[in-house]
Symmetry: C4
Subunit: 276 residues, 4 copies
């Protein structure tokens, strides 16, 4: 008797798929909740491991915990890859890549010290588990925000290009004015300073010392302070537009045009009367 | 003659309730004003007590003042608890908890040094006294703002989740890049740094030193500088929506036009009278 | 021959008034331009005087220049006071007070060192001179902005009260957590730190050192980063409301109601037909 | 045979113009792409040259690369000047000046050390090359943003004037309060500090030390934190206004309704055909 017939494998695949990717079955729901707890616990382990006095005290426990989580997630990744209907699409999807990046650092840490901390990217996997918690309303809001961002992406690109040009030019000007003796050791560092200043972060690790440098720096500060209006304005007006009352959901019985201004009695495309 | 009959107690309760919670009687008004003065004075006492050279000089006066205020507020709390129609609801309401937290630290300070400064939370009690000052208009505005916040809370939650993921991932990346030798001593500290940077606070107590770290930090700065547009956009468009003049949901009995300006008595399309 | 008859004085008053406060006459225009130059020059003198190596070099010139300007402005103030139709109203108006504050510090500096620098408030006098430059359009925009601020002042007051409570409570919490050994030397200083943090200024002169302090500080940063949406939202929606297309400037021939929705054919108050 | 007849020169001019300024011919397109690569490469060379350990290692290569690029751009500038229909207009246009400023620093560096870094302004030339990449959509968005900025420039000017007055007055006040011993060495430096604070940059290189100074500084911080609402509000409401769907200025020949949705062929009130 052959156990691994083609049919059997397809069946197994289907069943694993339902558990791992679905939330309708009890096992599927349990799996999702277990996964969420495991993700949070494993991220906590990585974080604790990075704190020196905790690492010194509990290094062994943390080491084993990290490997147990990694092996668990490796198993999960293999099952996902095995059960998914379209392997390539999963492997190169956002979550496919995140799943892989959640595992690799631990394996790489056998050869390279420090990399294992990169496993915190597995915090992003929490996003997938959100549907278990019936967070449909939140997902709708998120996609609403994302669509507003998406439809203003050209304007935002123009804005970023402008910011890039401003920090390059101002950074270089400050490099020439202040020079290495005042902390502006190179143009890239000066551009870094310009970004720190324009975004109003202002660490103060580098700051202009000469009167001329301070005058020019004041200009970039005021520019940064003012142009924050630009992304805000773009995004706000896009959101406001999407929130505006929509057209009436009426179809013209003659030409079939859908959506008419509130109060319209006749179709404004063909002139036929509308019935509400 | 029995003084504390049930009826007498209920009467007393009622009378205390009117004075403490009401503002219609003269005594009620006077009580509210006195309370406000007492709150401000007691907060001032706590603040002055925390300033070293004032504490050294006037420690005794401040000590007695603090105890007098605490005893006064304890009395008030007891009276409120006694006179309120629903004890449990008051005790676990926002103001009930604030009232209690305004007292406890002073008593706890007998055993634990330093806690007495937590009595500043009594500054929140000032909110209750606001109605005396006929600040109804302000309260309406506050509830208007609160309702705009409330109806956009799902969007704001999505935004905070996004911020949380961004600071976790970027914080960890910077920890790996910069390492403990540049001040990024652990992942939690690095996440703290990421929050300081993303929110554009930028203390400068921790800041990246390596070129790669500065490049990644520039990215988080620009992200933080841009996504401030998101809460602003959400809140602004919500406010703008609420401010838009609403049409009255009235249908004209003659021409059937639906939706009329507030205050309209006649249909502005056909001139027929409107019935509300 | 009596020169200072009552009539003569009234005449002189009127003529001075026209020159000093008007811009229609040639002399009035010239006076305004001269005044503007004098204000800017005198502010420049004060600023230069505060720079050590300039003061050391040109102390005498700066001293005389400052006194000449002060005497000039004193003369101008006297003439204004003399020629204005309503003396008390001028003296206690915004500009009346600014005019006085522009003079006093120089005289006070005879007794008190350092005060003379306060004469820079005379920079505010520049606002009055703006009308000469035919800046009516700018003034209109300024009053437009001011009216938007004005009609949202209750909301802004509520916001500021909220900010005040937040910084008081958070500042005190940080004082208890961090304590004087980490720079939080008193509650007032800690409230100052909370304002520096909430407004995202972030000097870094005081910053939390303990893990718990950094966690609470992160909360106040995220609060500060988010609630900037509130003043922005209030002001933007107020501005947007004012910019919205206004009602048609049509008067109902029957009831006299002014202003009707675009497209209205009948008065929505009395039902009479409208003529455009 | 004369080679340089007038006709020949005009021909040559025309042909060069088509290549340099046009994108329709293959050579024109190739030229634009080559130019873009050259600009980016030359800016990279300047940046690398400013980094000390790179300059020490590759000084010769960088030196020659810089001169090759400069000669190339000089040639291009000459050709542009030669082929343009209106020489003066080009020379004093934004791009004409940028083109010149991209060359001059290298030549000046023969006499003055350090100036050569100013050639980074050639990064601005990248803007011109954008049309090659079929970035018409982006250009439209940019001009949309620019027009919103343009139509609110009076309001923005008023805002900047307000900011200027606030920082001058507050800066001077802090100078008097804190004085040179706390880092406020002069009024111009104190104004610089006020700008750093008002824009919420907050380097921390200068910060108030006295209680009174910190109280006044808190005020300027809260002002800065709040008035960021002003440019944002101005720009957002301007953008929102421009985004609103405009009605076509068409009158219905039958019922006289003025203003119809874009794309309407029939009046939506009476059903009559519309003529444009």
């Amino acid at each position: 008797m052959k156990l691994l017939t083609k049919k059997n494998i397809a069946d197994l695949r289907e069943r694993i798929h339902i558990v791992i990717d679905g939330t309708d079955t009890r096992l599927g729901k349990f799996f999702d909740i277990f996964l969420m707890v495991a993700i949070i616990a494993s991220v906590a382990v990585v974080m604790l491991d990075s704190v020196l006095y905790i690492r010194l005290k509990y290094s062994e426990i943390l080491f084993y915990a990290e490997w147990i989580f990694t092996i668990l997630f490796t198993l999960e990744y293999t099952l996902r890859l095995f059960s998914t209907p379209n392997r390539a699409r999963y492997a190169f999807s956002f979550f496919g890549i995140v799943d892989l990046l959640s595992l690799l650092p631990t394996y790489l840490s056998l050869f390279l010290g420090g990399v294992q901390y990169m496993t915190v990217v597995r915090i992003l996997r929490i996003l997938r588990v959100f549907r278990v918690l019936k967070l449909a309303a939140y997902m709708k809001q998120a996609s609403f925000l994302a669509s507003a961002l998406n439809s203003s992406k050209q304007k935002i690109f123009v804005f970023f290009l402008f910011v890039l040009l401003v920090v390059t030019v101002f950074g270089s000007v400050l490099y020439v004015i202040e020079g290495p003796e005042n902390g502006f050791t190179s143009i890239p560092i000066s551009i870094y300073w310009a970004i720190v200043t324009l975004t109003t972060v202002g660490y103060g690790d580098i700051s202009p010392k000469t009167p001329l440098g301070q005058a020019v720096a004041s200009m970039i500060m005021i520019v940064g302070y003012s142009i924050i209006a630009v992304p805000t304005g773009i995004f706000t007006s896009e959101l406001a537009k999407n929130m505006r009352p929509q057209l009436h959901p009426v179809t013209c019985p003659n030409c079939g045009k859908y959506g008419h201004a509130s109060g319209a009695h006749y179709c404004d495309r063909c002139g036929h009367e509308l019935h509400f």
